[in-house]
Every structure is written in C-alpha cells, then in structure tokens.
Symmetry: C2
Amino acid sequence: MGGQYSAQVYITLRPSVLDPAGAAVQVGLVNLGYDMVSQVRIGKYIQLTLEAPSLELAHREVDRACSQLLANPVIEDYRFDLTAS
Amino acid sequence: MGGQYSAQVYITLRPSVLDPAGAAVQVGLVNLGYDMVSQVRIGKYIQLTLEAPSLELAHREVDRACSQLLANPVIEDYRFDLTAS
C-alpha cells in the first residue's frame, strides 16, 4: 500500500505544565461573557502529507518526526492519526 | 444532562492561505532526512472545559466562542468535538 499518507498530529502541553496563553484566552472568554468556560489549554494541530512504502513505515516516520522536531518531549505530549490519502 | 463538557477545537488555516511556518517546518524535516514529507500545515488544537445545562447549549456556546474569539474566520476554519466529561 505504498503511496501518499496524511497525518494529523495533536501536540499538547503536559498536564503539569502551566499554559499562560491558555489562561489568557480563558480570561478573554469570560470577559466576552463565556463565563461557563473554566479551563483552556492551547496546543498544536499539525497536518503532514508524506509518501511512504507502507502505512507501517509512514507511522514510524511520523512518530520519529514528532519526537525529533515537532514536539518538545520535555513539556509536550503528542499523538497522531494516519490515513492513506 | 447538565454538567461539565470537554471540547476539542481544531483550527486550521484555510487552504488558500499561505503557511510560512508550516513551510519552514517542512524544510526542517527535509533537512533532518524526512524528505518524504511534502507538505506541512500548522494549526491550533484548543481544549476547553465548560459547564452547560445541556450538550446542545454547550455546542452552541463553543461554536460562538470559536467564531468570536478562538478562530479568525477571514483566514481560518474551525471544527470541534464535544463530549460530556
């Protein structure tokens, strides 16, 4: 099943890491009247398009790319979905 | 079903909008040896926690918050998943 794959990568701050940008957005929402919003955490959503000989190899490459460049493993977690496209 | 809800919001640049940060990450990946990656688009992944009287009302509030503050509708699209938590 070689061909083109599409990966959706979700990068989130680890739960123990403070998110000042998220806290600022939460205050902004409350100030706009959305006072039911109690927490906001901001992460990244990265869409990759890649060629690979198989789904398995595509999975391995995306996982390596996430840990080596896309996410900072000290403060961030990542997960991803991968589909043939 | 009043109570606490969790929303996962995915904000992406519209397909017609250039993504220089994504292009820079793509070049970075190629330079690291990931030359099978042909395109990178960077968006935001926002997790909201909110209280609402019902799933329907929570859905309406999150949709309004996205269009009013979280996304820039001129250059960005958004979608979200909502679950009781």
